[in-house]
């Protein structure tokens, strides 16, 4: 497989995953904005959404105030925002077009029809309660793409690079969501682990579709400690670091078998997974959750860079 093809598959999957995550974050922001204002206004909620989406700075460059409408438009439709759902879908599709021969017809059709249908949506049509339906649709389309990939793609190089892109991006997103909620919403580090409105916890879990599965696993109300553990260390939680790295390691092992040598990215991914499997939650809190997340994001980026280098991405 061409290095460029591998790169395109990797980025195609990353951008589809990102589109889904932006839709999830927008949904949470929207949900919060519907609840009664508790005094500080919804600006702070939208701000945290923008930060979690990695789009706060770019937003401020284009707008001087945070309003519901502007943020929604920026996150979903703005062509000048490279992480808007529209831009993500377009980038994903451009990458897919560049490697059409490496995709199955089902994968291409899932992505291409999403792109075409999205293009026909006018932001003005999403008023009065139609937004959740639309965001659901975005998530479903992402699921359709992953489903067609899992159901039709040969388990060879192409599959491994698609998996790597999806899980590197997902790990990154989960880390950002956690970091924003703990660090941005709370004024100081000391209050981490203290009391907080259950609603805030629910929104974190909701943004990763885990507010119900949490109950199954913990049989308890939302507690910061548990939520962090759930999203970081639990291997059965499909958006946790541990789960993502399980797949990253498996795909990198698969690639090492194919090219016949152990790569630097595999060594690094294995070491991250080992750490995740052995570190206890209280150690993470003791050394500071934010510091832990910052370090994780850095290591995750480094794995991504090594993948590009090991497999001759251009």
């Amino acid at each position: 497989m061409l290095g460029r093809t591998a790169a395109s598959l990797y980025w195609m999957s990353r951008y589809i995953e990102r589109a889904e995550n932006i839709a999830r974050l927008t949904e949470v922001g929207y949900r919060i904005s519907l609840t009664p204002d508790i005094g500080i206004g919804h600006r702070e909620d939208w701000k945290s959404t923008l930060i979690a989406a990695g789009s706060y700075e770019p937003y401020l460059e284009r707008h001087n105030e945070i309003t519901s409408e502007k943020v929604k438009h920026f996150l979903l439709f703005d062509r000048d925002n490279p992480s808007s759902v529209r831009s993500c879908l377009e980038t994903a599709r451009n990458n897919a077009r560049a490697v059409r021969t490496a995709l199955t017809r089902e994968m291409w059709e899932a992505l291409n029809s999403t792109y075409i249908d999205f293009a026909s949506v006018r932001p003005a049509d999403l008023g009065s309660g139609k937004l959740p339906e639309f965001l659901d649709w975005v998530r479903q389309r992402s699921a359709l793409f992953r489903g067609s990939m899992l159901g039709t793609l040969l388990r060879d190089e192409g599959f491994h690079f698609s998996q790597l892109g999806a899980f590197i991006e997902r790990a990154d997103n989960t880390a950002r969501i956690l970091d924003v909620k703990y660090y941005v919403l709370l004024p100081t580090n000391e209050t981490v682990g203290g009391d907080i409105d259950a609603f805030q916890w629910e929104t974190i879990l909701r943004s990763v579709s885990a507010h119900r599965s949490y109950r199954h696993v913990y049989k308890d109300r939302y507690r910061p400690w548990n939520v962090a553990e759930f999203l970081i260390l639990r291997p059965e939680m499909p958006r946790s670091f541990c789960f993502c790295y399980g797949w990253i390691e498996r795909s990198l092992e698969g690639m090492s078998d194919i090219i016949g040598k152990k790569t630097a990215s595999l060594t690094e991914a294995s070491s991250i997974l080992h750490d995740l499997k052995t570190i206890p939650m209280d150690a993470i809190f003791q050394s500071g959750l934010h510091e832990f997340l910052t370090e994780f994001l850095k290591r995750n980026n480094s794995v991504s860079a090594h993948i590009a280098n090991d497999f001759h991405f251009l």
Partner: protein, 494 residues
């Protein structure tokens, strides 16, 4: 030559006198004879058309569009803000070519393609045809499309143009003309294949009622053709690749489609590099050798060391490696000289010179403004003629006399007088019509035909080709950029 051309002009003029060109032209319809009867090849199609309801056809039309859009068969339109991708309209009614008509076309195309490859070999070697005085030296070696760097080189199999798309128009029962030879990088073959696929999906019953010659083997034949021209350095099964300028190229879909159908890599210049006399592509495990490169990148962008130094679409050193026998470039660089508009007028001579035979297919009568007598004739008849710039490509720098304003005519007269050798002129052609689905039922629309020819260890011509249709009423312009569509093209077997 001139006399023949004049005769043609007279025929046209008399047709014009009987009725104004605009209102009641005597166009040849491929389904219906002048007396209204249906030609035998179209009999079952006509019956079928009679059975279709308007609503049913509209639904099938929508279904066809959905199929093409989902497959991503679009072409890029530059400078269109709303969306840079559009579908080429697909016409549901197939174009039918009778078996004996096709046999004639096939022989004619094969003769022409063979002769043009011999011509290319000759002008890049001893130039016997110039020495024999059959074509002016300056027209060939002074031509921008002539590539001096190709001289003295024997490409594998002595083949230059491996993939050809001969544009043919029909004006009467037995009147076929070659309009252009397209020997560089002709496109459209993916539409031929997908049109067939779509038709079989939409109207299986029609195929059950006819014996339609298959086109599906094209990718396999392309593969065989490419494998048959592996370079001398290749000692085992050759590795093939398709070189594309990238996803923003208007024919990107086709590049990707062909690579996929052949089961080979679709590469860009940045994927390739040369090392120790071998061309490689960068793969996830390092590198893999390439022996035959089917390139869909123009000559001047192939190699920044040999041609345009600012090109990022090619591979540095590729041309040297090609000449050293380390890789085969398909089509060869420099084939453009043989489909240059100024050389076109000489193709009948070229066929006779190399094959000793009379041309089977006719050229469109062409006046060369470089020859004083012919130039005179062109200037006297400007308002009846189509004038083309010889180095321009389709549509640019063109005058369509009958539709031109006085100012445009005056402008071209000035241009021709300033540099006669830059222009040729041809009569306007009465393109044949075929029934087309136009929403309000069916109506005749003008068509042309591009059969696809492969030249390798032997010449392989896919029965049929791409029919382009001018869907606008009365329009003679079949280009997809100007409202043209495509049709499935059937060659009936006996």
């Amino acid at each position: 030559m001139v006399a023949l051309a004049d005769g043609m002009m007279n025929t046209q003029a008399s047709a014009k006198n009987k009725g104004s060109m605009k209102e009641a032209p005597a166009f040849f319809d491929e389904m219906r004879s002048a007396d209204g009867s249906i030609r035998p090849a179209y009999q079952k199609i006509a019956d079928w058309m009679g059975q279709q309801s308007r609503g049913g056809m509209a639904r099938k039309q929508e279904e066809a569009e959905a199929i093409f859009r989902r497959l991503g068969i679009t072409f890029a339109v530059y400078g269109d803000n709303a969306s840079n991708e559009r579908l080429i309209p697909f016409d549901l009614i197939p174009r039918v070519i009778a078996a004996q008509e096709w046999r004639f076309l096939e022989r004619g195309i094969e003769q022409r393609v063979r002769a043009l490859n011999l011509f290319l070999y000759d002008i890049y070697h001893r130039q016997e045809i110039i020495r024999a005085g059959r074509i002016p030296a300056d027209l060939v070696v002074g031509n921008e499309a002539f590539l001096p760097q190709m001289m003295g080189f024997d490409p594998p199999g002595k083949i230059y143009s491996h993939i050809v798309g001969t544009d043919i128009v029909r004006t009467g029962e037995n009147a076929f003309f070659v309009l252009e030879d397209n020997l560089r990088t002709p496109s459209g073959v993916s539409y031929m294949l997908e049109d067939r696929e779509a038709m079989m999906h939409l109207f299986p019953e029609l195929f059950a009622a006819h014996r339609v010659a298959p086109v599906e083997r094209y990718p396999e034949m392309l593969r065989q053709t490419l494998e048959s021209v592996a370079p001398p350095s290749c000692k085992s099964d050759p590795t093939l690749a398709v070189l594309t300028p990238g996803i923003y190229n208007s024919a990107y879909f086709e590049h990707s489609f062909l690579a996929d159908q052949m089961g080979v890599e679709l590469v860009q210049g940045s994927d390739l590099f040369i090392e120790n006399g071998t061309l490689y592509m960068r793969t996830v495990s390092g590198k893999e050798r390439i022996d035959v490169l089917y390139r869909r990148v123009d000559d001047s962008y192939l190699d920044p060391l040999a041609f345009r130094s600012d090109s990022t679409l090619g591979v540095p050193g590729l041309f040297d490696l090609y000449r050293a026998g380390g890789v085969t470039i398909v089509n060869a660089p420099g084939t453009g000289i043989a489909d240059d508009k100024a050389v076109y007028a000489y193709v009948p001579d070229i066929i006779e010179f190399y094959t000793g035979e009379k041309p089977i297919l006719s050229n469109v009568p062409t006046y060369r403004c470089s020859i004083a007598d012919e130039c005179h004739h062109v200037l006297d008849n400007l308002s009846h003629l189509v004038v083309k710039e010889v180095h321009g490509s389709g549509g640019y720098g063109m005058l369509i006399g009958p539709h031109a304003t006085k100012a445009q005519l005056a402008e071209f007269e000035k241009k021709i007088k300033a540099k006669p050798s830059n222009y040729i002129a041809q009569p306007t052609l009465n393109l044949s019509t075929c029934p087309s689905n136009v929403g309000a039922g069916s109506a005749p629309r003008h068509v042309d035909l591009r059969p696809f020819v492969l030249v390798g260890d032997k010449i392989r011509i896919t029965p049929g080709g791409l029919t382009r249709v001018a869907l606008k009423k009365g329009s003679l312009v079949v280009n997809s950029s100007q409202g043209g569509g495509t049709k499935d093209t059937w060659v009936l077997e006996d």
